[in-house]
């Protein structure tokens, strides 16, 4: 693990650190939607803090709601939610985990890909009610101890995005693909296994490079 960007000292060659990587969300936050502090912490940490700040519902559920306990990124939430609440919408709107994106909302684009018990699924085609007792992981839950997951680092290093909207879904798929021994290691197998993540910008070449380079990074870790 020698080729990872150093988060604490010098900026990377692109001149950007993770503190200042421009994104619409960062930009909006930095111009006053949020505090100055929000612009100086990595975006995923802000999201995890926002998730932690979501209070459990203490009232009895309303007539059209159910009481549900969801475990997301290791945190347990007791929430009153409508029976028809899609898991994607609960993650984004209730738990403030907006890293998971809504693209097509019909399982066709992969932007909403998350892990349930370590398995990649489309969160738009799941009801929250189906996932009580499951371990749910979103893009915000990949970084550990303030350090990006090797796949996240690889996407950064290989410039494996343009607009970035599909990126969290791509990364969640890539992490699952790299863990799955039934999926081949060759480029063709990776392309096939990730065909459920559409990139309208067409960054597929760099996405593939990132996934294959992350494969090597992960081997070095273990």
């Amino acid at each position: 693990m020698t080729d990872q960007p150093d988060k604490n000292t010098e900026p990377t060659t692109s001149g950007l650190t993770d503190f200042t990587v421009p994104s619409r969300r960062n930009f909006l936050k930095s111009i006053g939607v949020s505090s100055l502090a929000a612009a100086t912490a990595p975006v995923w940490m802000q999201a995890i803090e926002a998730q932690a700040a979501v209070a459990d519902d203490t009232d009895a559920p309303a007539r059209d709601e159910r009481r549900m306990t969801l475990k997301v990124n290791g945190q347990t939430h007791a929430l009153n939610l409508p029976a028809n609440a899609a898991l994607l919408d609960v993650l984004r709107d209730r738990l403030q985990l907006t890293g998971t994106k809504k693209g097509c909302d019909h399982g066709q684009c992969g932007a909403c890909t998350i892990h349930v018990n370590g398995v990649a699924i489309n969160s738009c085609l799941s009801l929250a009610a189906m996932h009580e007792g499951d371990e749910i992981t979103t893009i915000e839950g990949l970084a550990k101890n303030g350090k990006l997951h090797p796949v996240q680092e690889a996407f950064w290093e290989h410039d494996a995005y343009q607009c970035g909207y599909c990126t969290s879904g791509q990364i969640m798929s890539a992490v699952a693909v790299l863990q799955d021994k039934s999926i081949g290691k060759d480029d063709h197998s990776v392309r096939e296994a990730m065909s459920g993540n559409i990139c309208r910008c067409g960054a597929y070449k760099n996405i593939l490079s990132a996934v294959q380079s992350a494969r090597i990074k992960l081997q070095e870790v273990t």
Partner: protein, 327 residues
């Protein structure tokens, strides 16, 4: 998404009983078809019965060589199961050619059997569609009918293809669908499970009211057979078949001892080509004999304005599959 009631079933009996008490209840497994179509208001659910907690997740090899697959076994699990990969290669290949990794991780065996057609006039919620709105007509017959519309088994009421790859492999292998309903358990031959549209295109399968699929049982594999699934489509991945073939072949030298052929993308149900199988049995597998069998498989095909190409494409799907299997 429309509001609906959610019930988690603790047993098959409870699922069936709950279903029988509601006018517009649907069983919810992977959700990849149901929630998609509830969002489009094509399946107007007032209640969903979550069956994911039922113990229907086993793949059991039985003493007679048949394989009993639980309704909730995911497409991913089934495709990668050692016994299936080894003895039912055609099924593993068909499953892996369908949908995407994420969808296969959610989609179940019974859900795949029950998946709905991909005709855009069915899905758009407004066009005339006899399947969605009996008696409203069929916009596909004179409309955009190039990719997911059939040339075999159509009627003047509906021409949508059955979209499953898995079911095409099962039709070739031979299987039965075990169901449980208010009157108890029964078994339906796989080839009788999906119905032709005829004059009742809204009736898609042989299930009676409130019946739940519990298992699919595959016939024992044919000894000394080779099998493969060939899917032809507009892109290399993540696309429904324009034409596909599932072929199981037992050879004796250059002579065909036994053959099973089923087709996808060309029929209104998973299409078993029994006459083509008979034409191959006992003959030498020459190019000419393959072409003859393929022509028989598409005999009686009726092309529509944009899908006449499916007749030669379906034939090629059979010929190429046979050629690859014996190469």
């Amino acid at each position: 998404m429309r509001a609906f009631d959610y019930v988690r079933a603790g047993s098959v009996e409870q699922a069936v009983t709950t279903h029988s008490k509601s006018q517009s209840a649907y069983f919810l497994a992977g959700g990849t078809t149901l929630l998609d179509l509830v969002k489009l208001d094509v399946m107007p659910a007032d209640q969903v019965i979550d069956v994911n907690h039922l113990s229907l997740k086993q793949i059991e090899v039985q003493s007679d060589g048949s394989v009993r697959i639980g309704a909730l076994v995911t497409n991913t699990t089934l495709a990668n199961h050692e016994h299936i990969v080894r003895h039912y290669s055609v099924l593993s290949q068909a499953l892996l050619s369908g949908a995407t990794t994420q969808l296969r991780n959610k989609a179940t065996t019974a859900g795949n059997v029950m998946q709905r057609v991909r005709c855009n006039y069915f899905r758009d919620g407004i066009s005339p569609c006899n399947k969605r709105e009996p008696g409203s007509g069929c916009a596909a017959i004179d409309g955009h009918n190039r990719s997911v519309h059939a040339v075999l088994g159509t009627s003047d009421q509906c021409i949508a293809t059955h979209p499953s790859d898995m079911c095409v492999a099962m039709a070739a292998i031979g299987a039965s669908v075990e169901v449980q309903g208010p009157k108890g358990k029964r078994s339906i031959d796989f080839l009788d499970f999906h119905l032709l549209p005829g004059s009742t295109p809204w009736k898609e399968h042989a299930l009676q009211d409130d019946e739940l699929i519990t298992h699919v049982v595959l016939n024992a594999p044919m000894p000394n057979s080779k099998s493969g699934y060939l899917k032809l489509r507009d892109r290399a991945s993540y696309q429904f078949a324009l034409a596909s073939s599932a072929v199981i072949l037992v050879m004796d030298g250059d002579t065909v001892r036994d053959a099973r052929i089923a087709m996808g993308g060309v029929g209104t149900k998973p299409w078993r080509a029994l006459d083509a199988e008979r034409a191959l049995k006992g003959v030498t597998l020459t190019q000419q004999n393959m072409e003859k069998a393929a022509a028989i498989a598409l005999q009686g095909a009726k092309p529509y304005s944009h899908n006449a190409y499916k007749i030669p494409l379906g034939q090629q799907a059979i010929i190429r599959n046979l050629t690859t299997l014996t190469a």
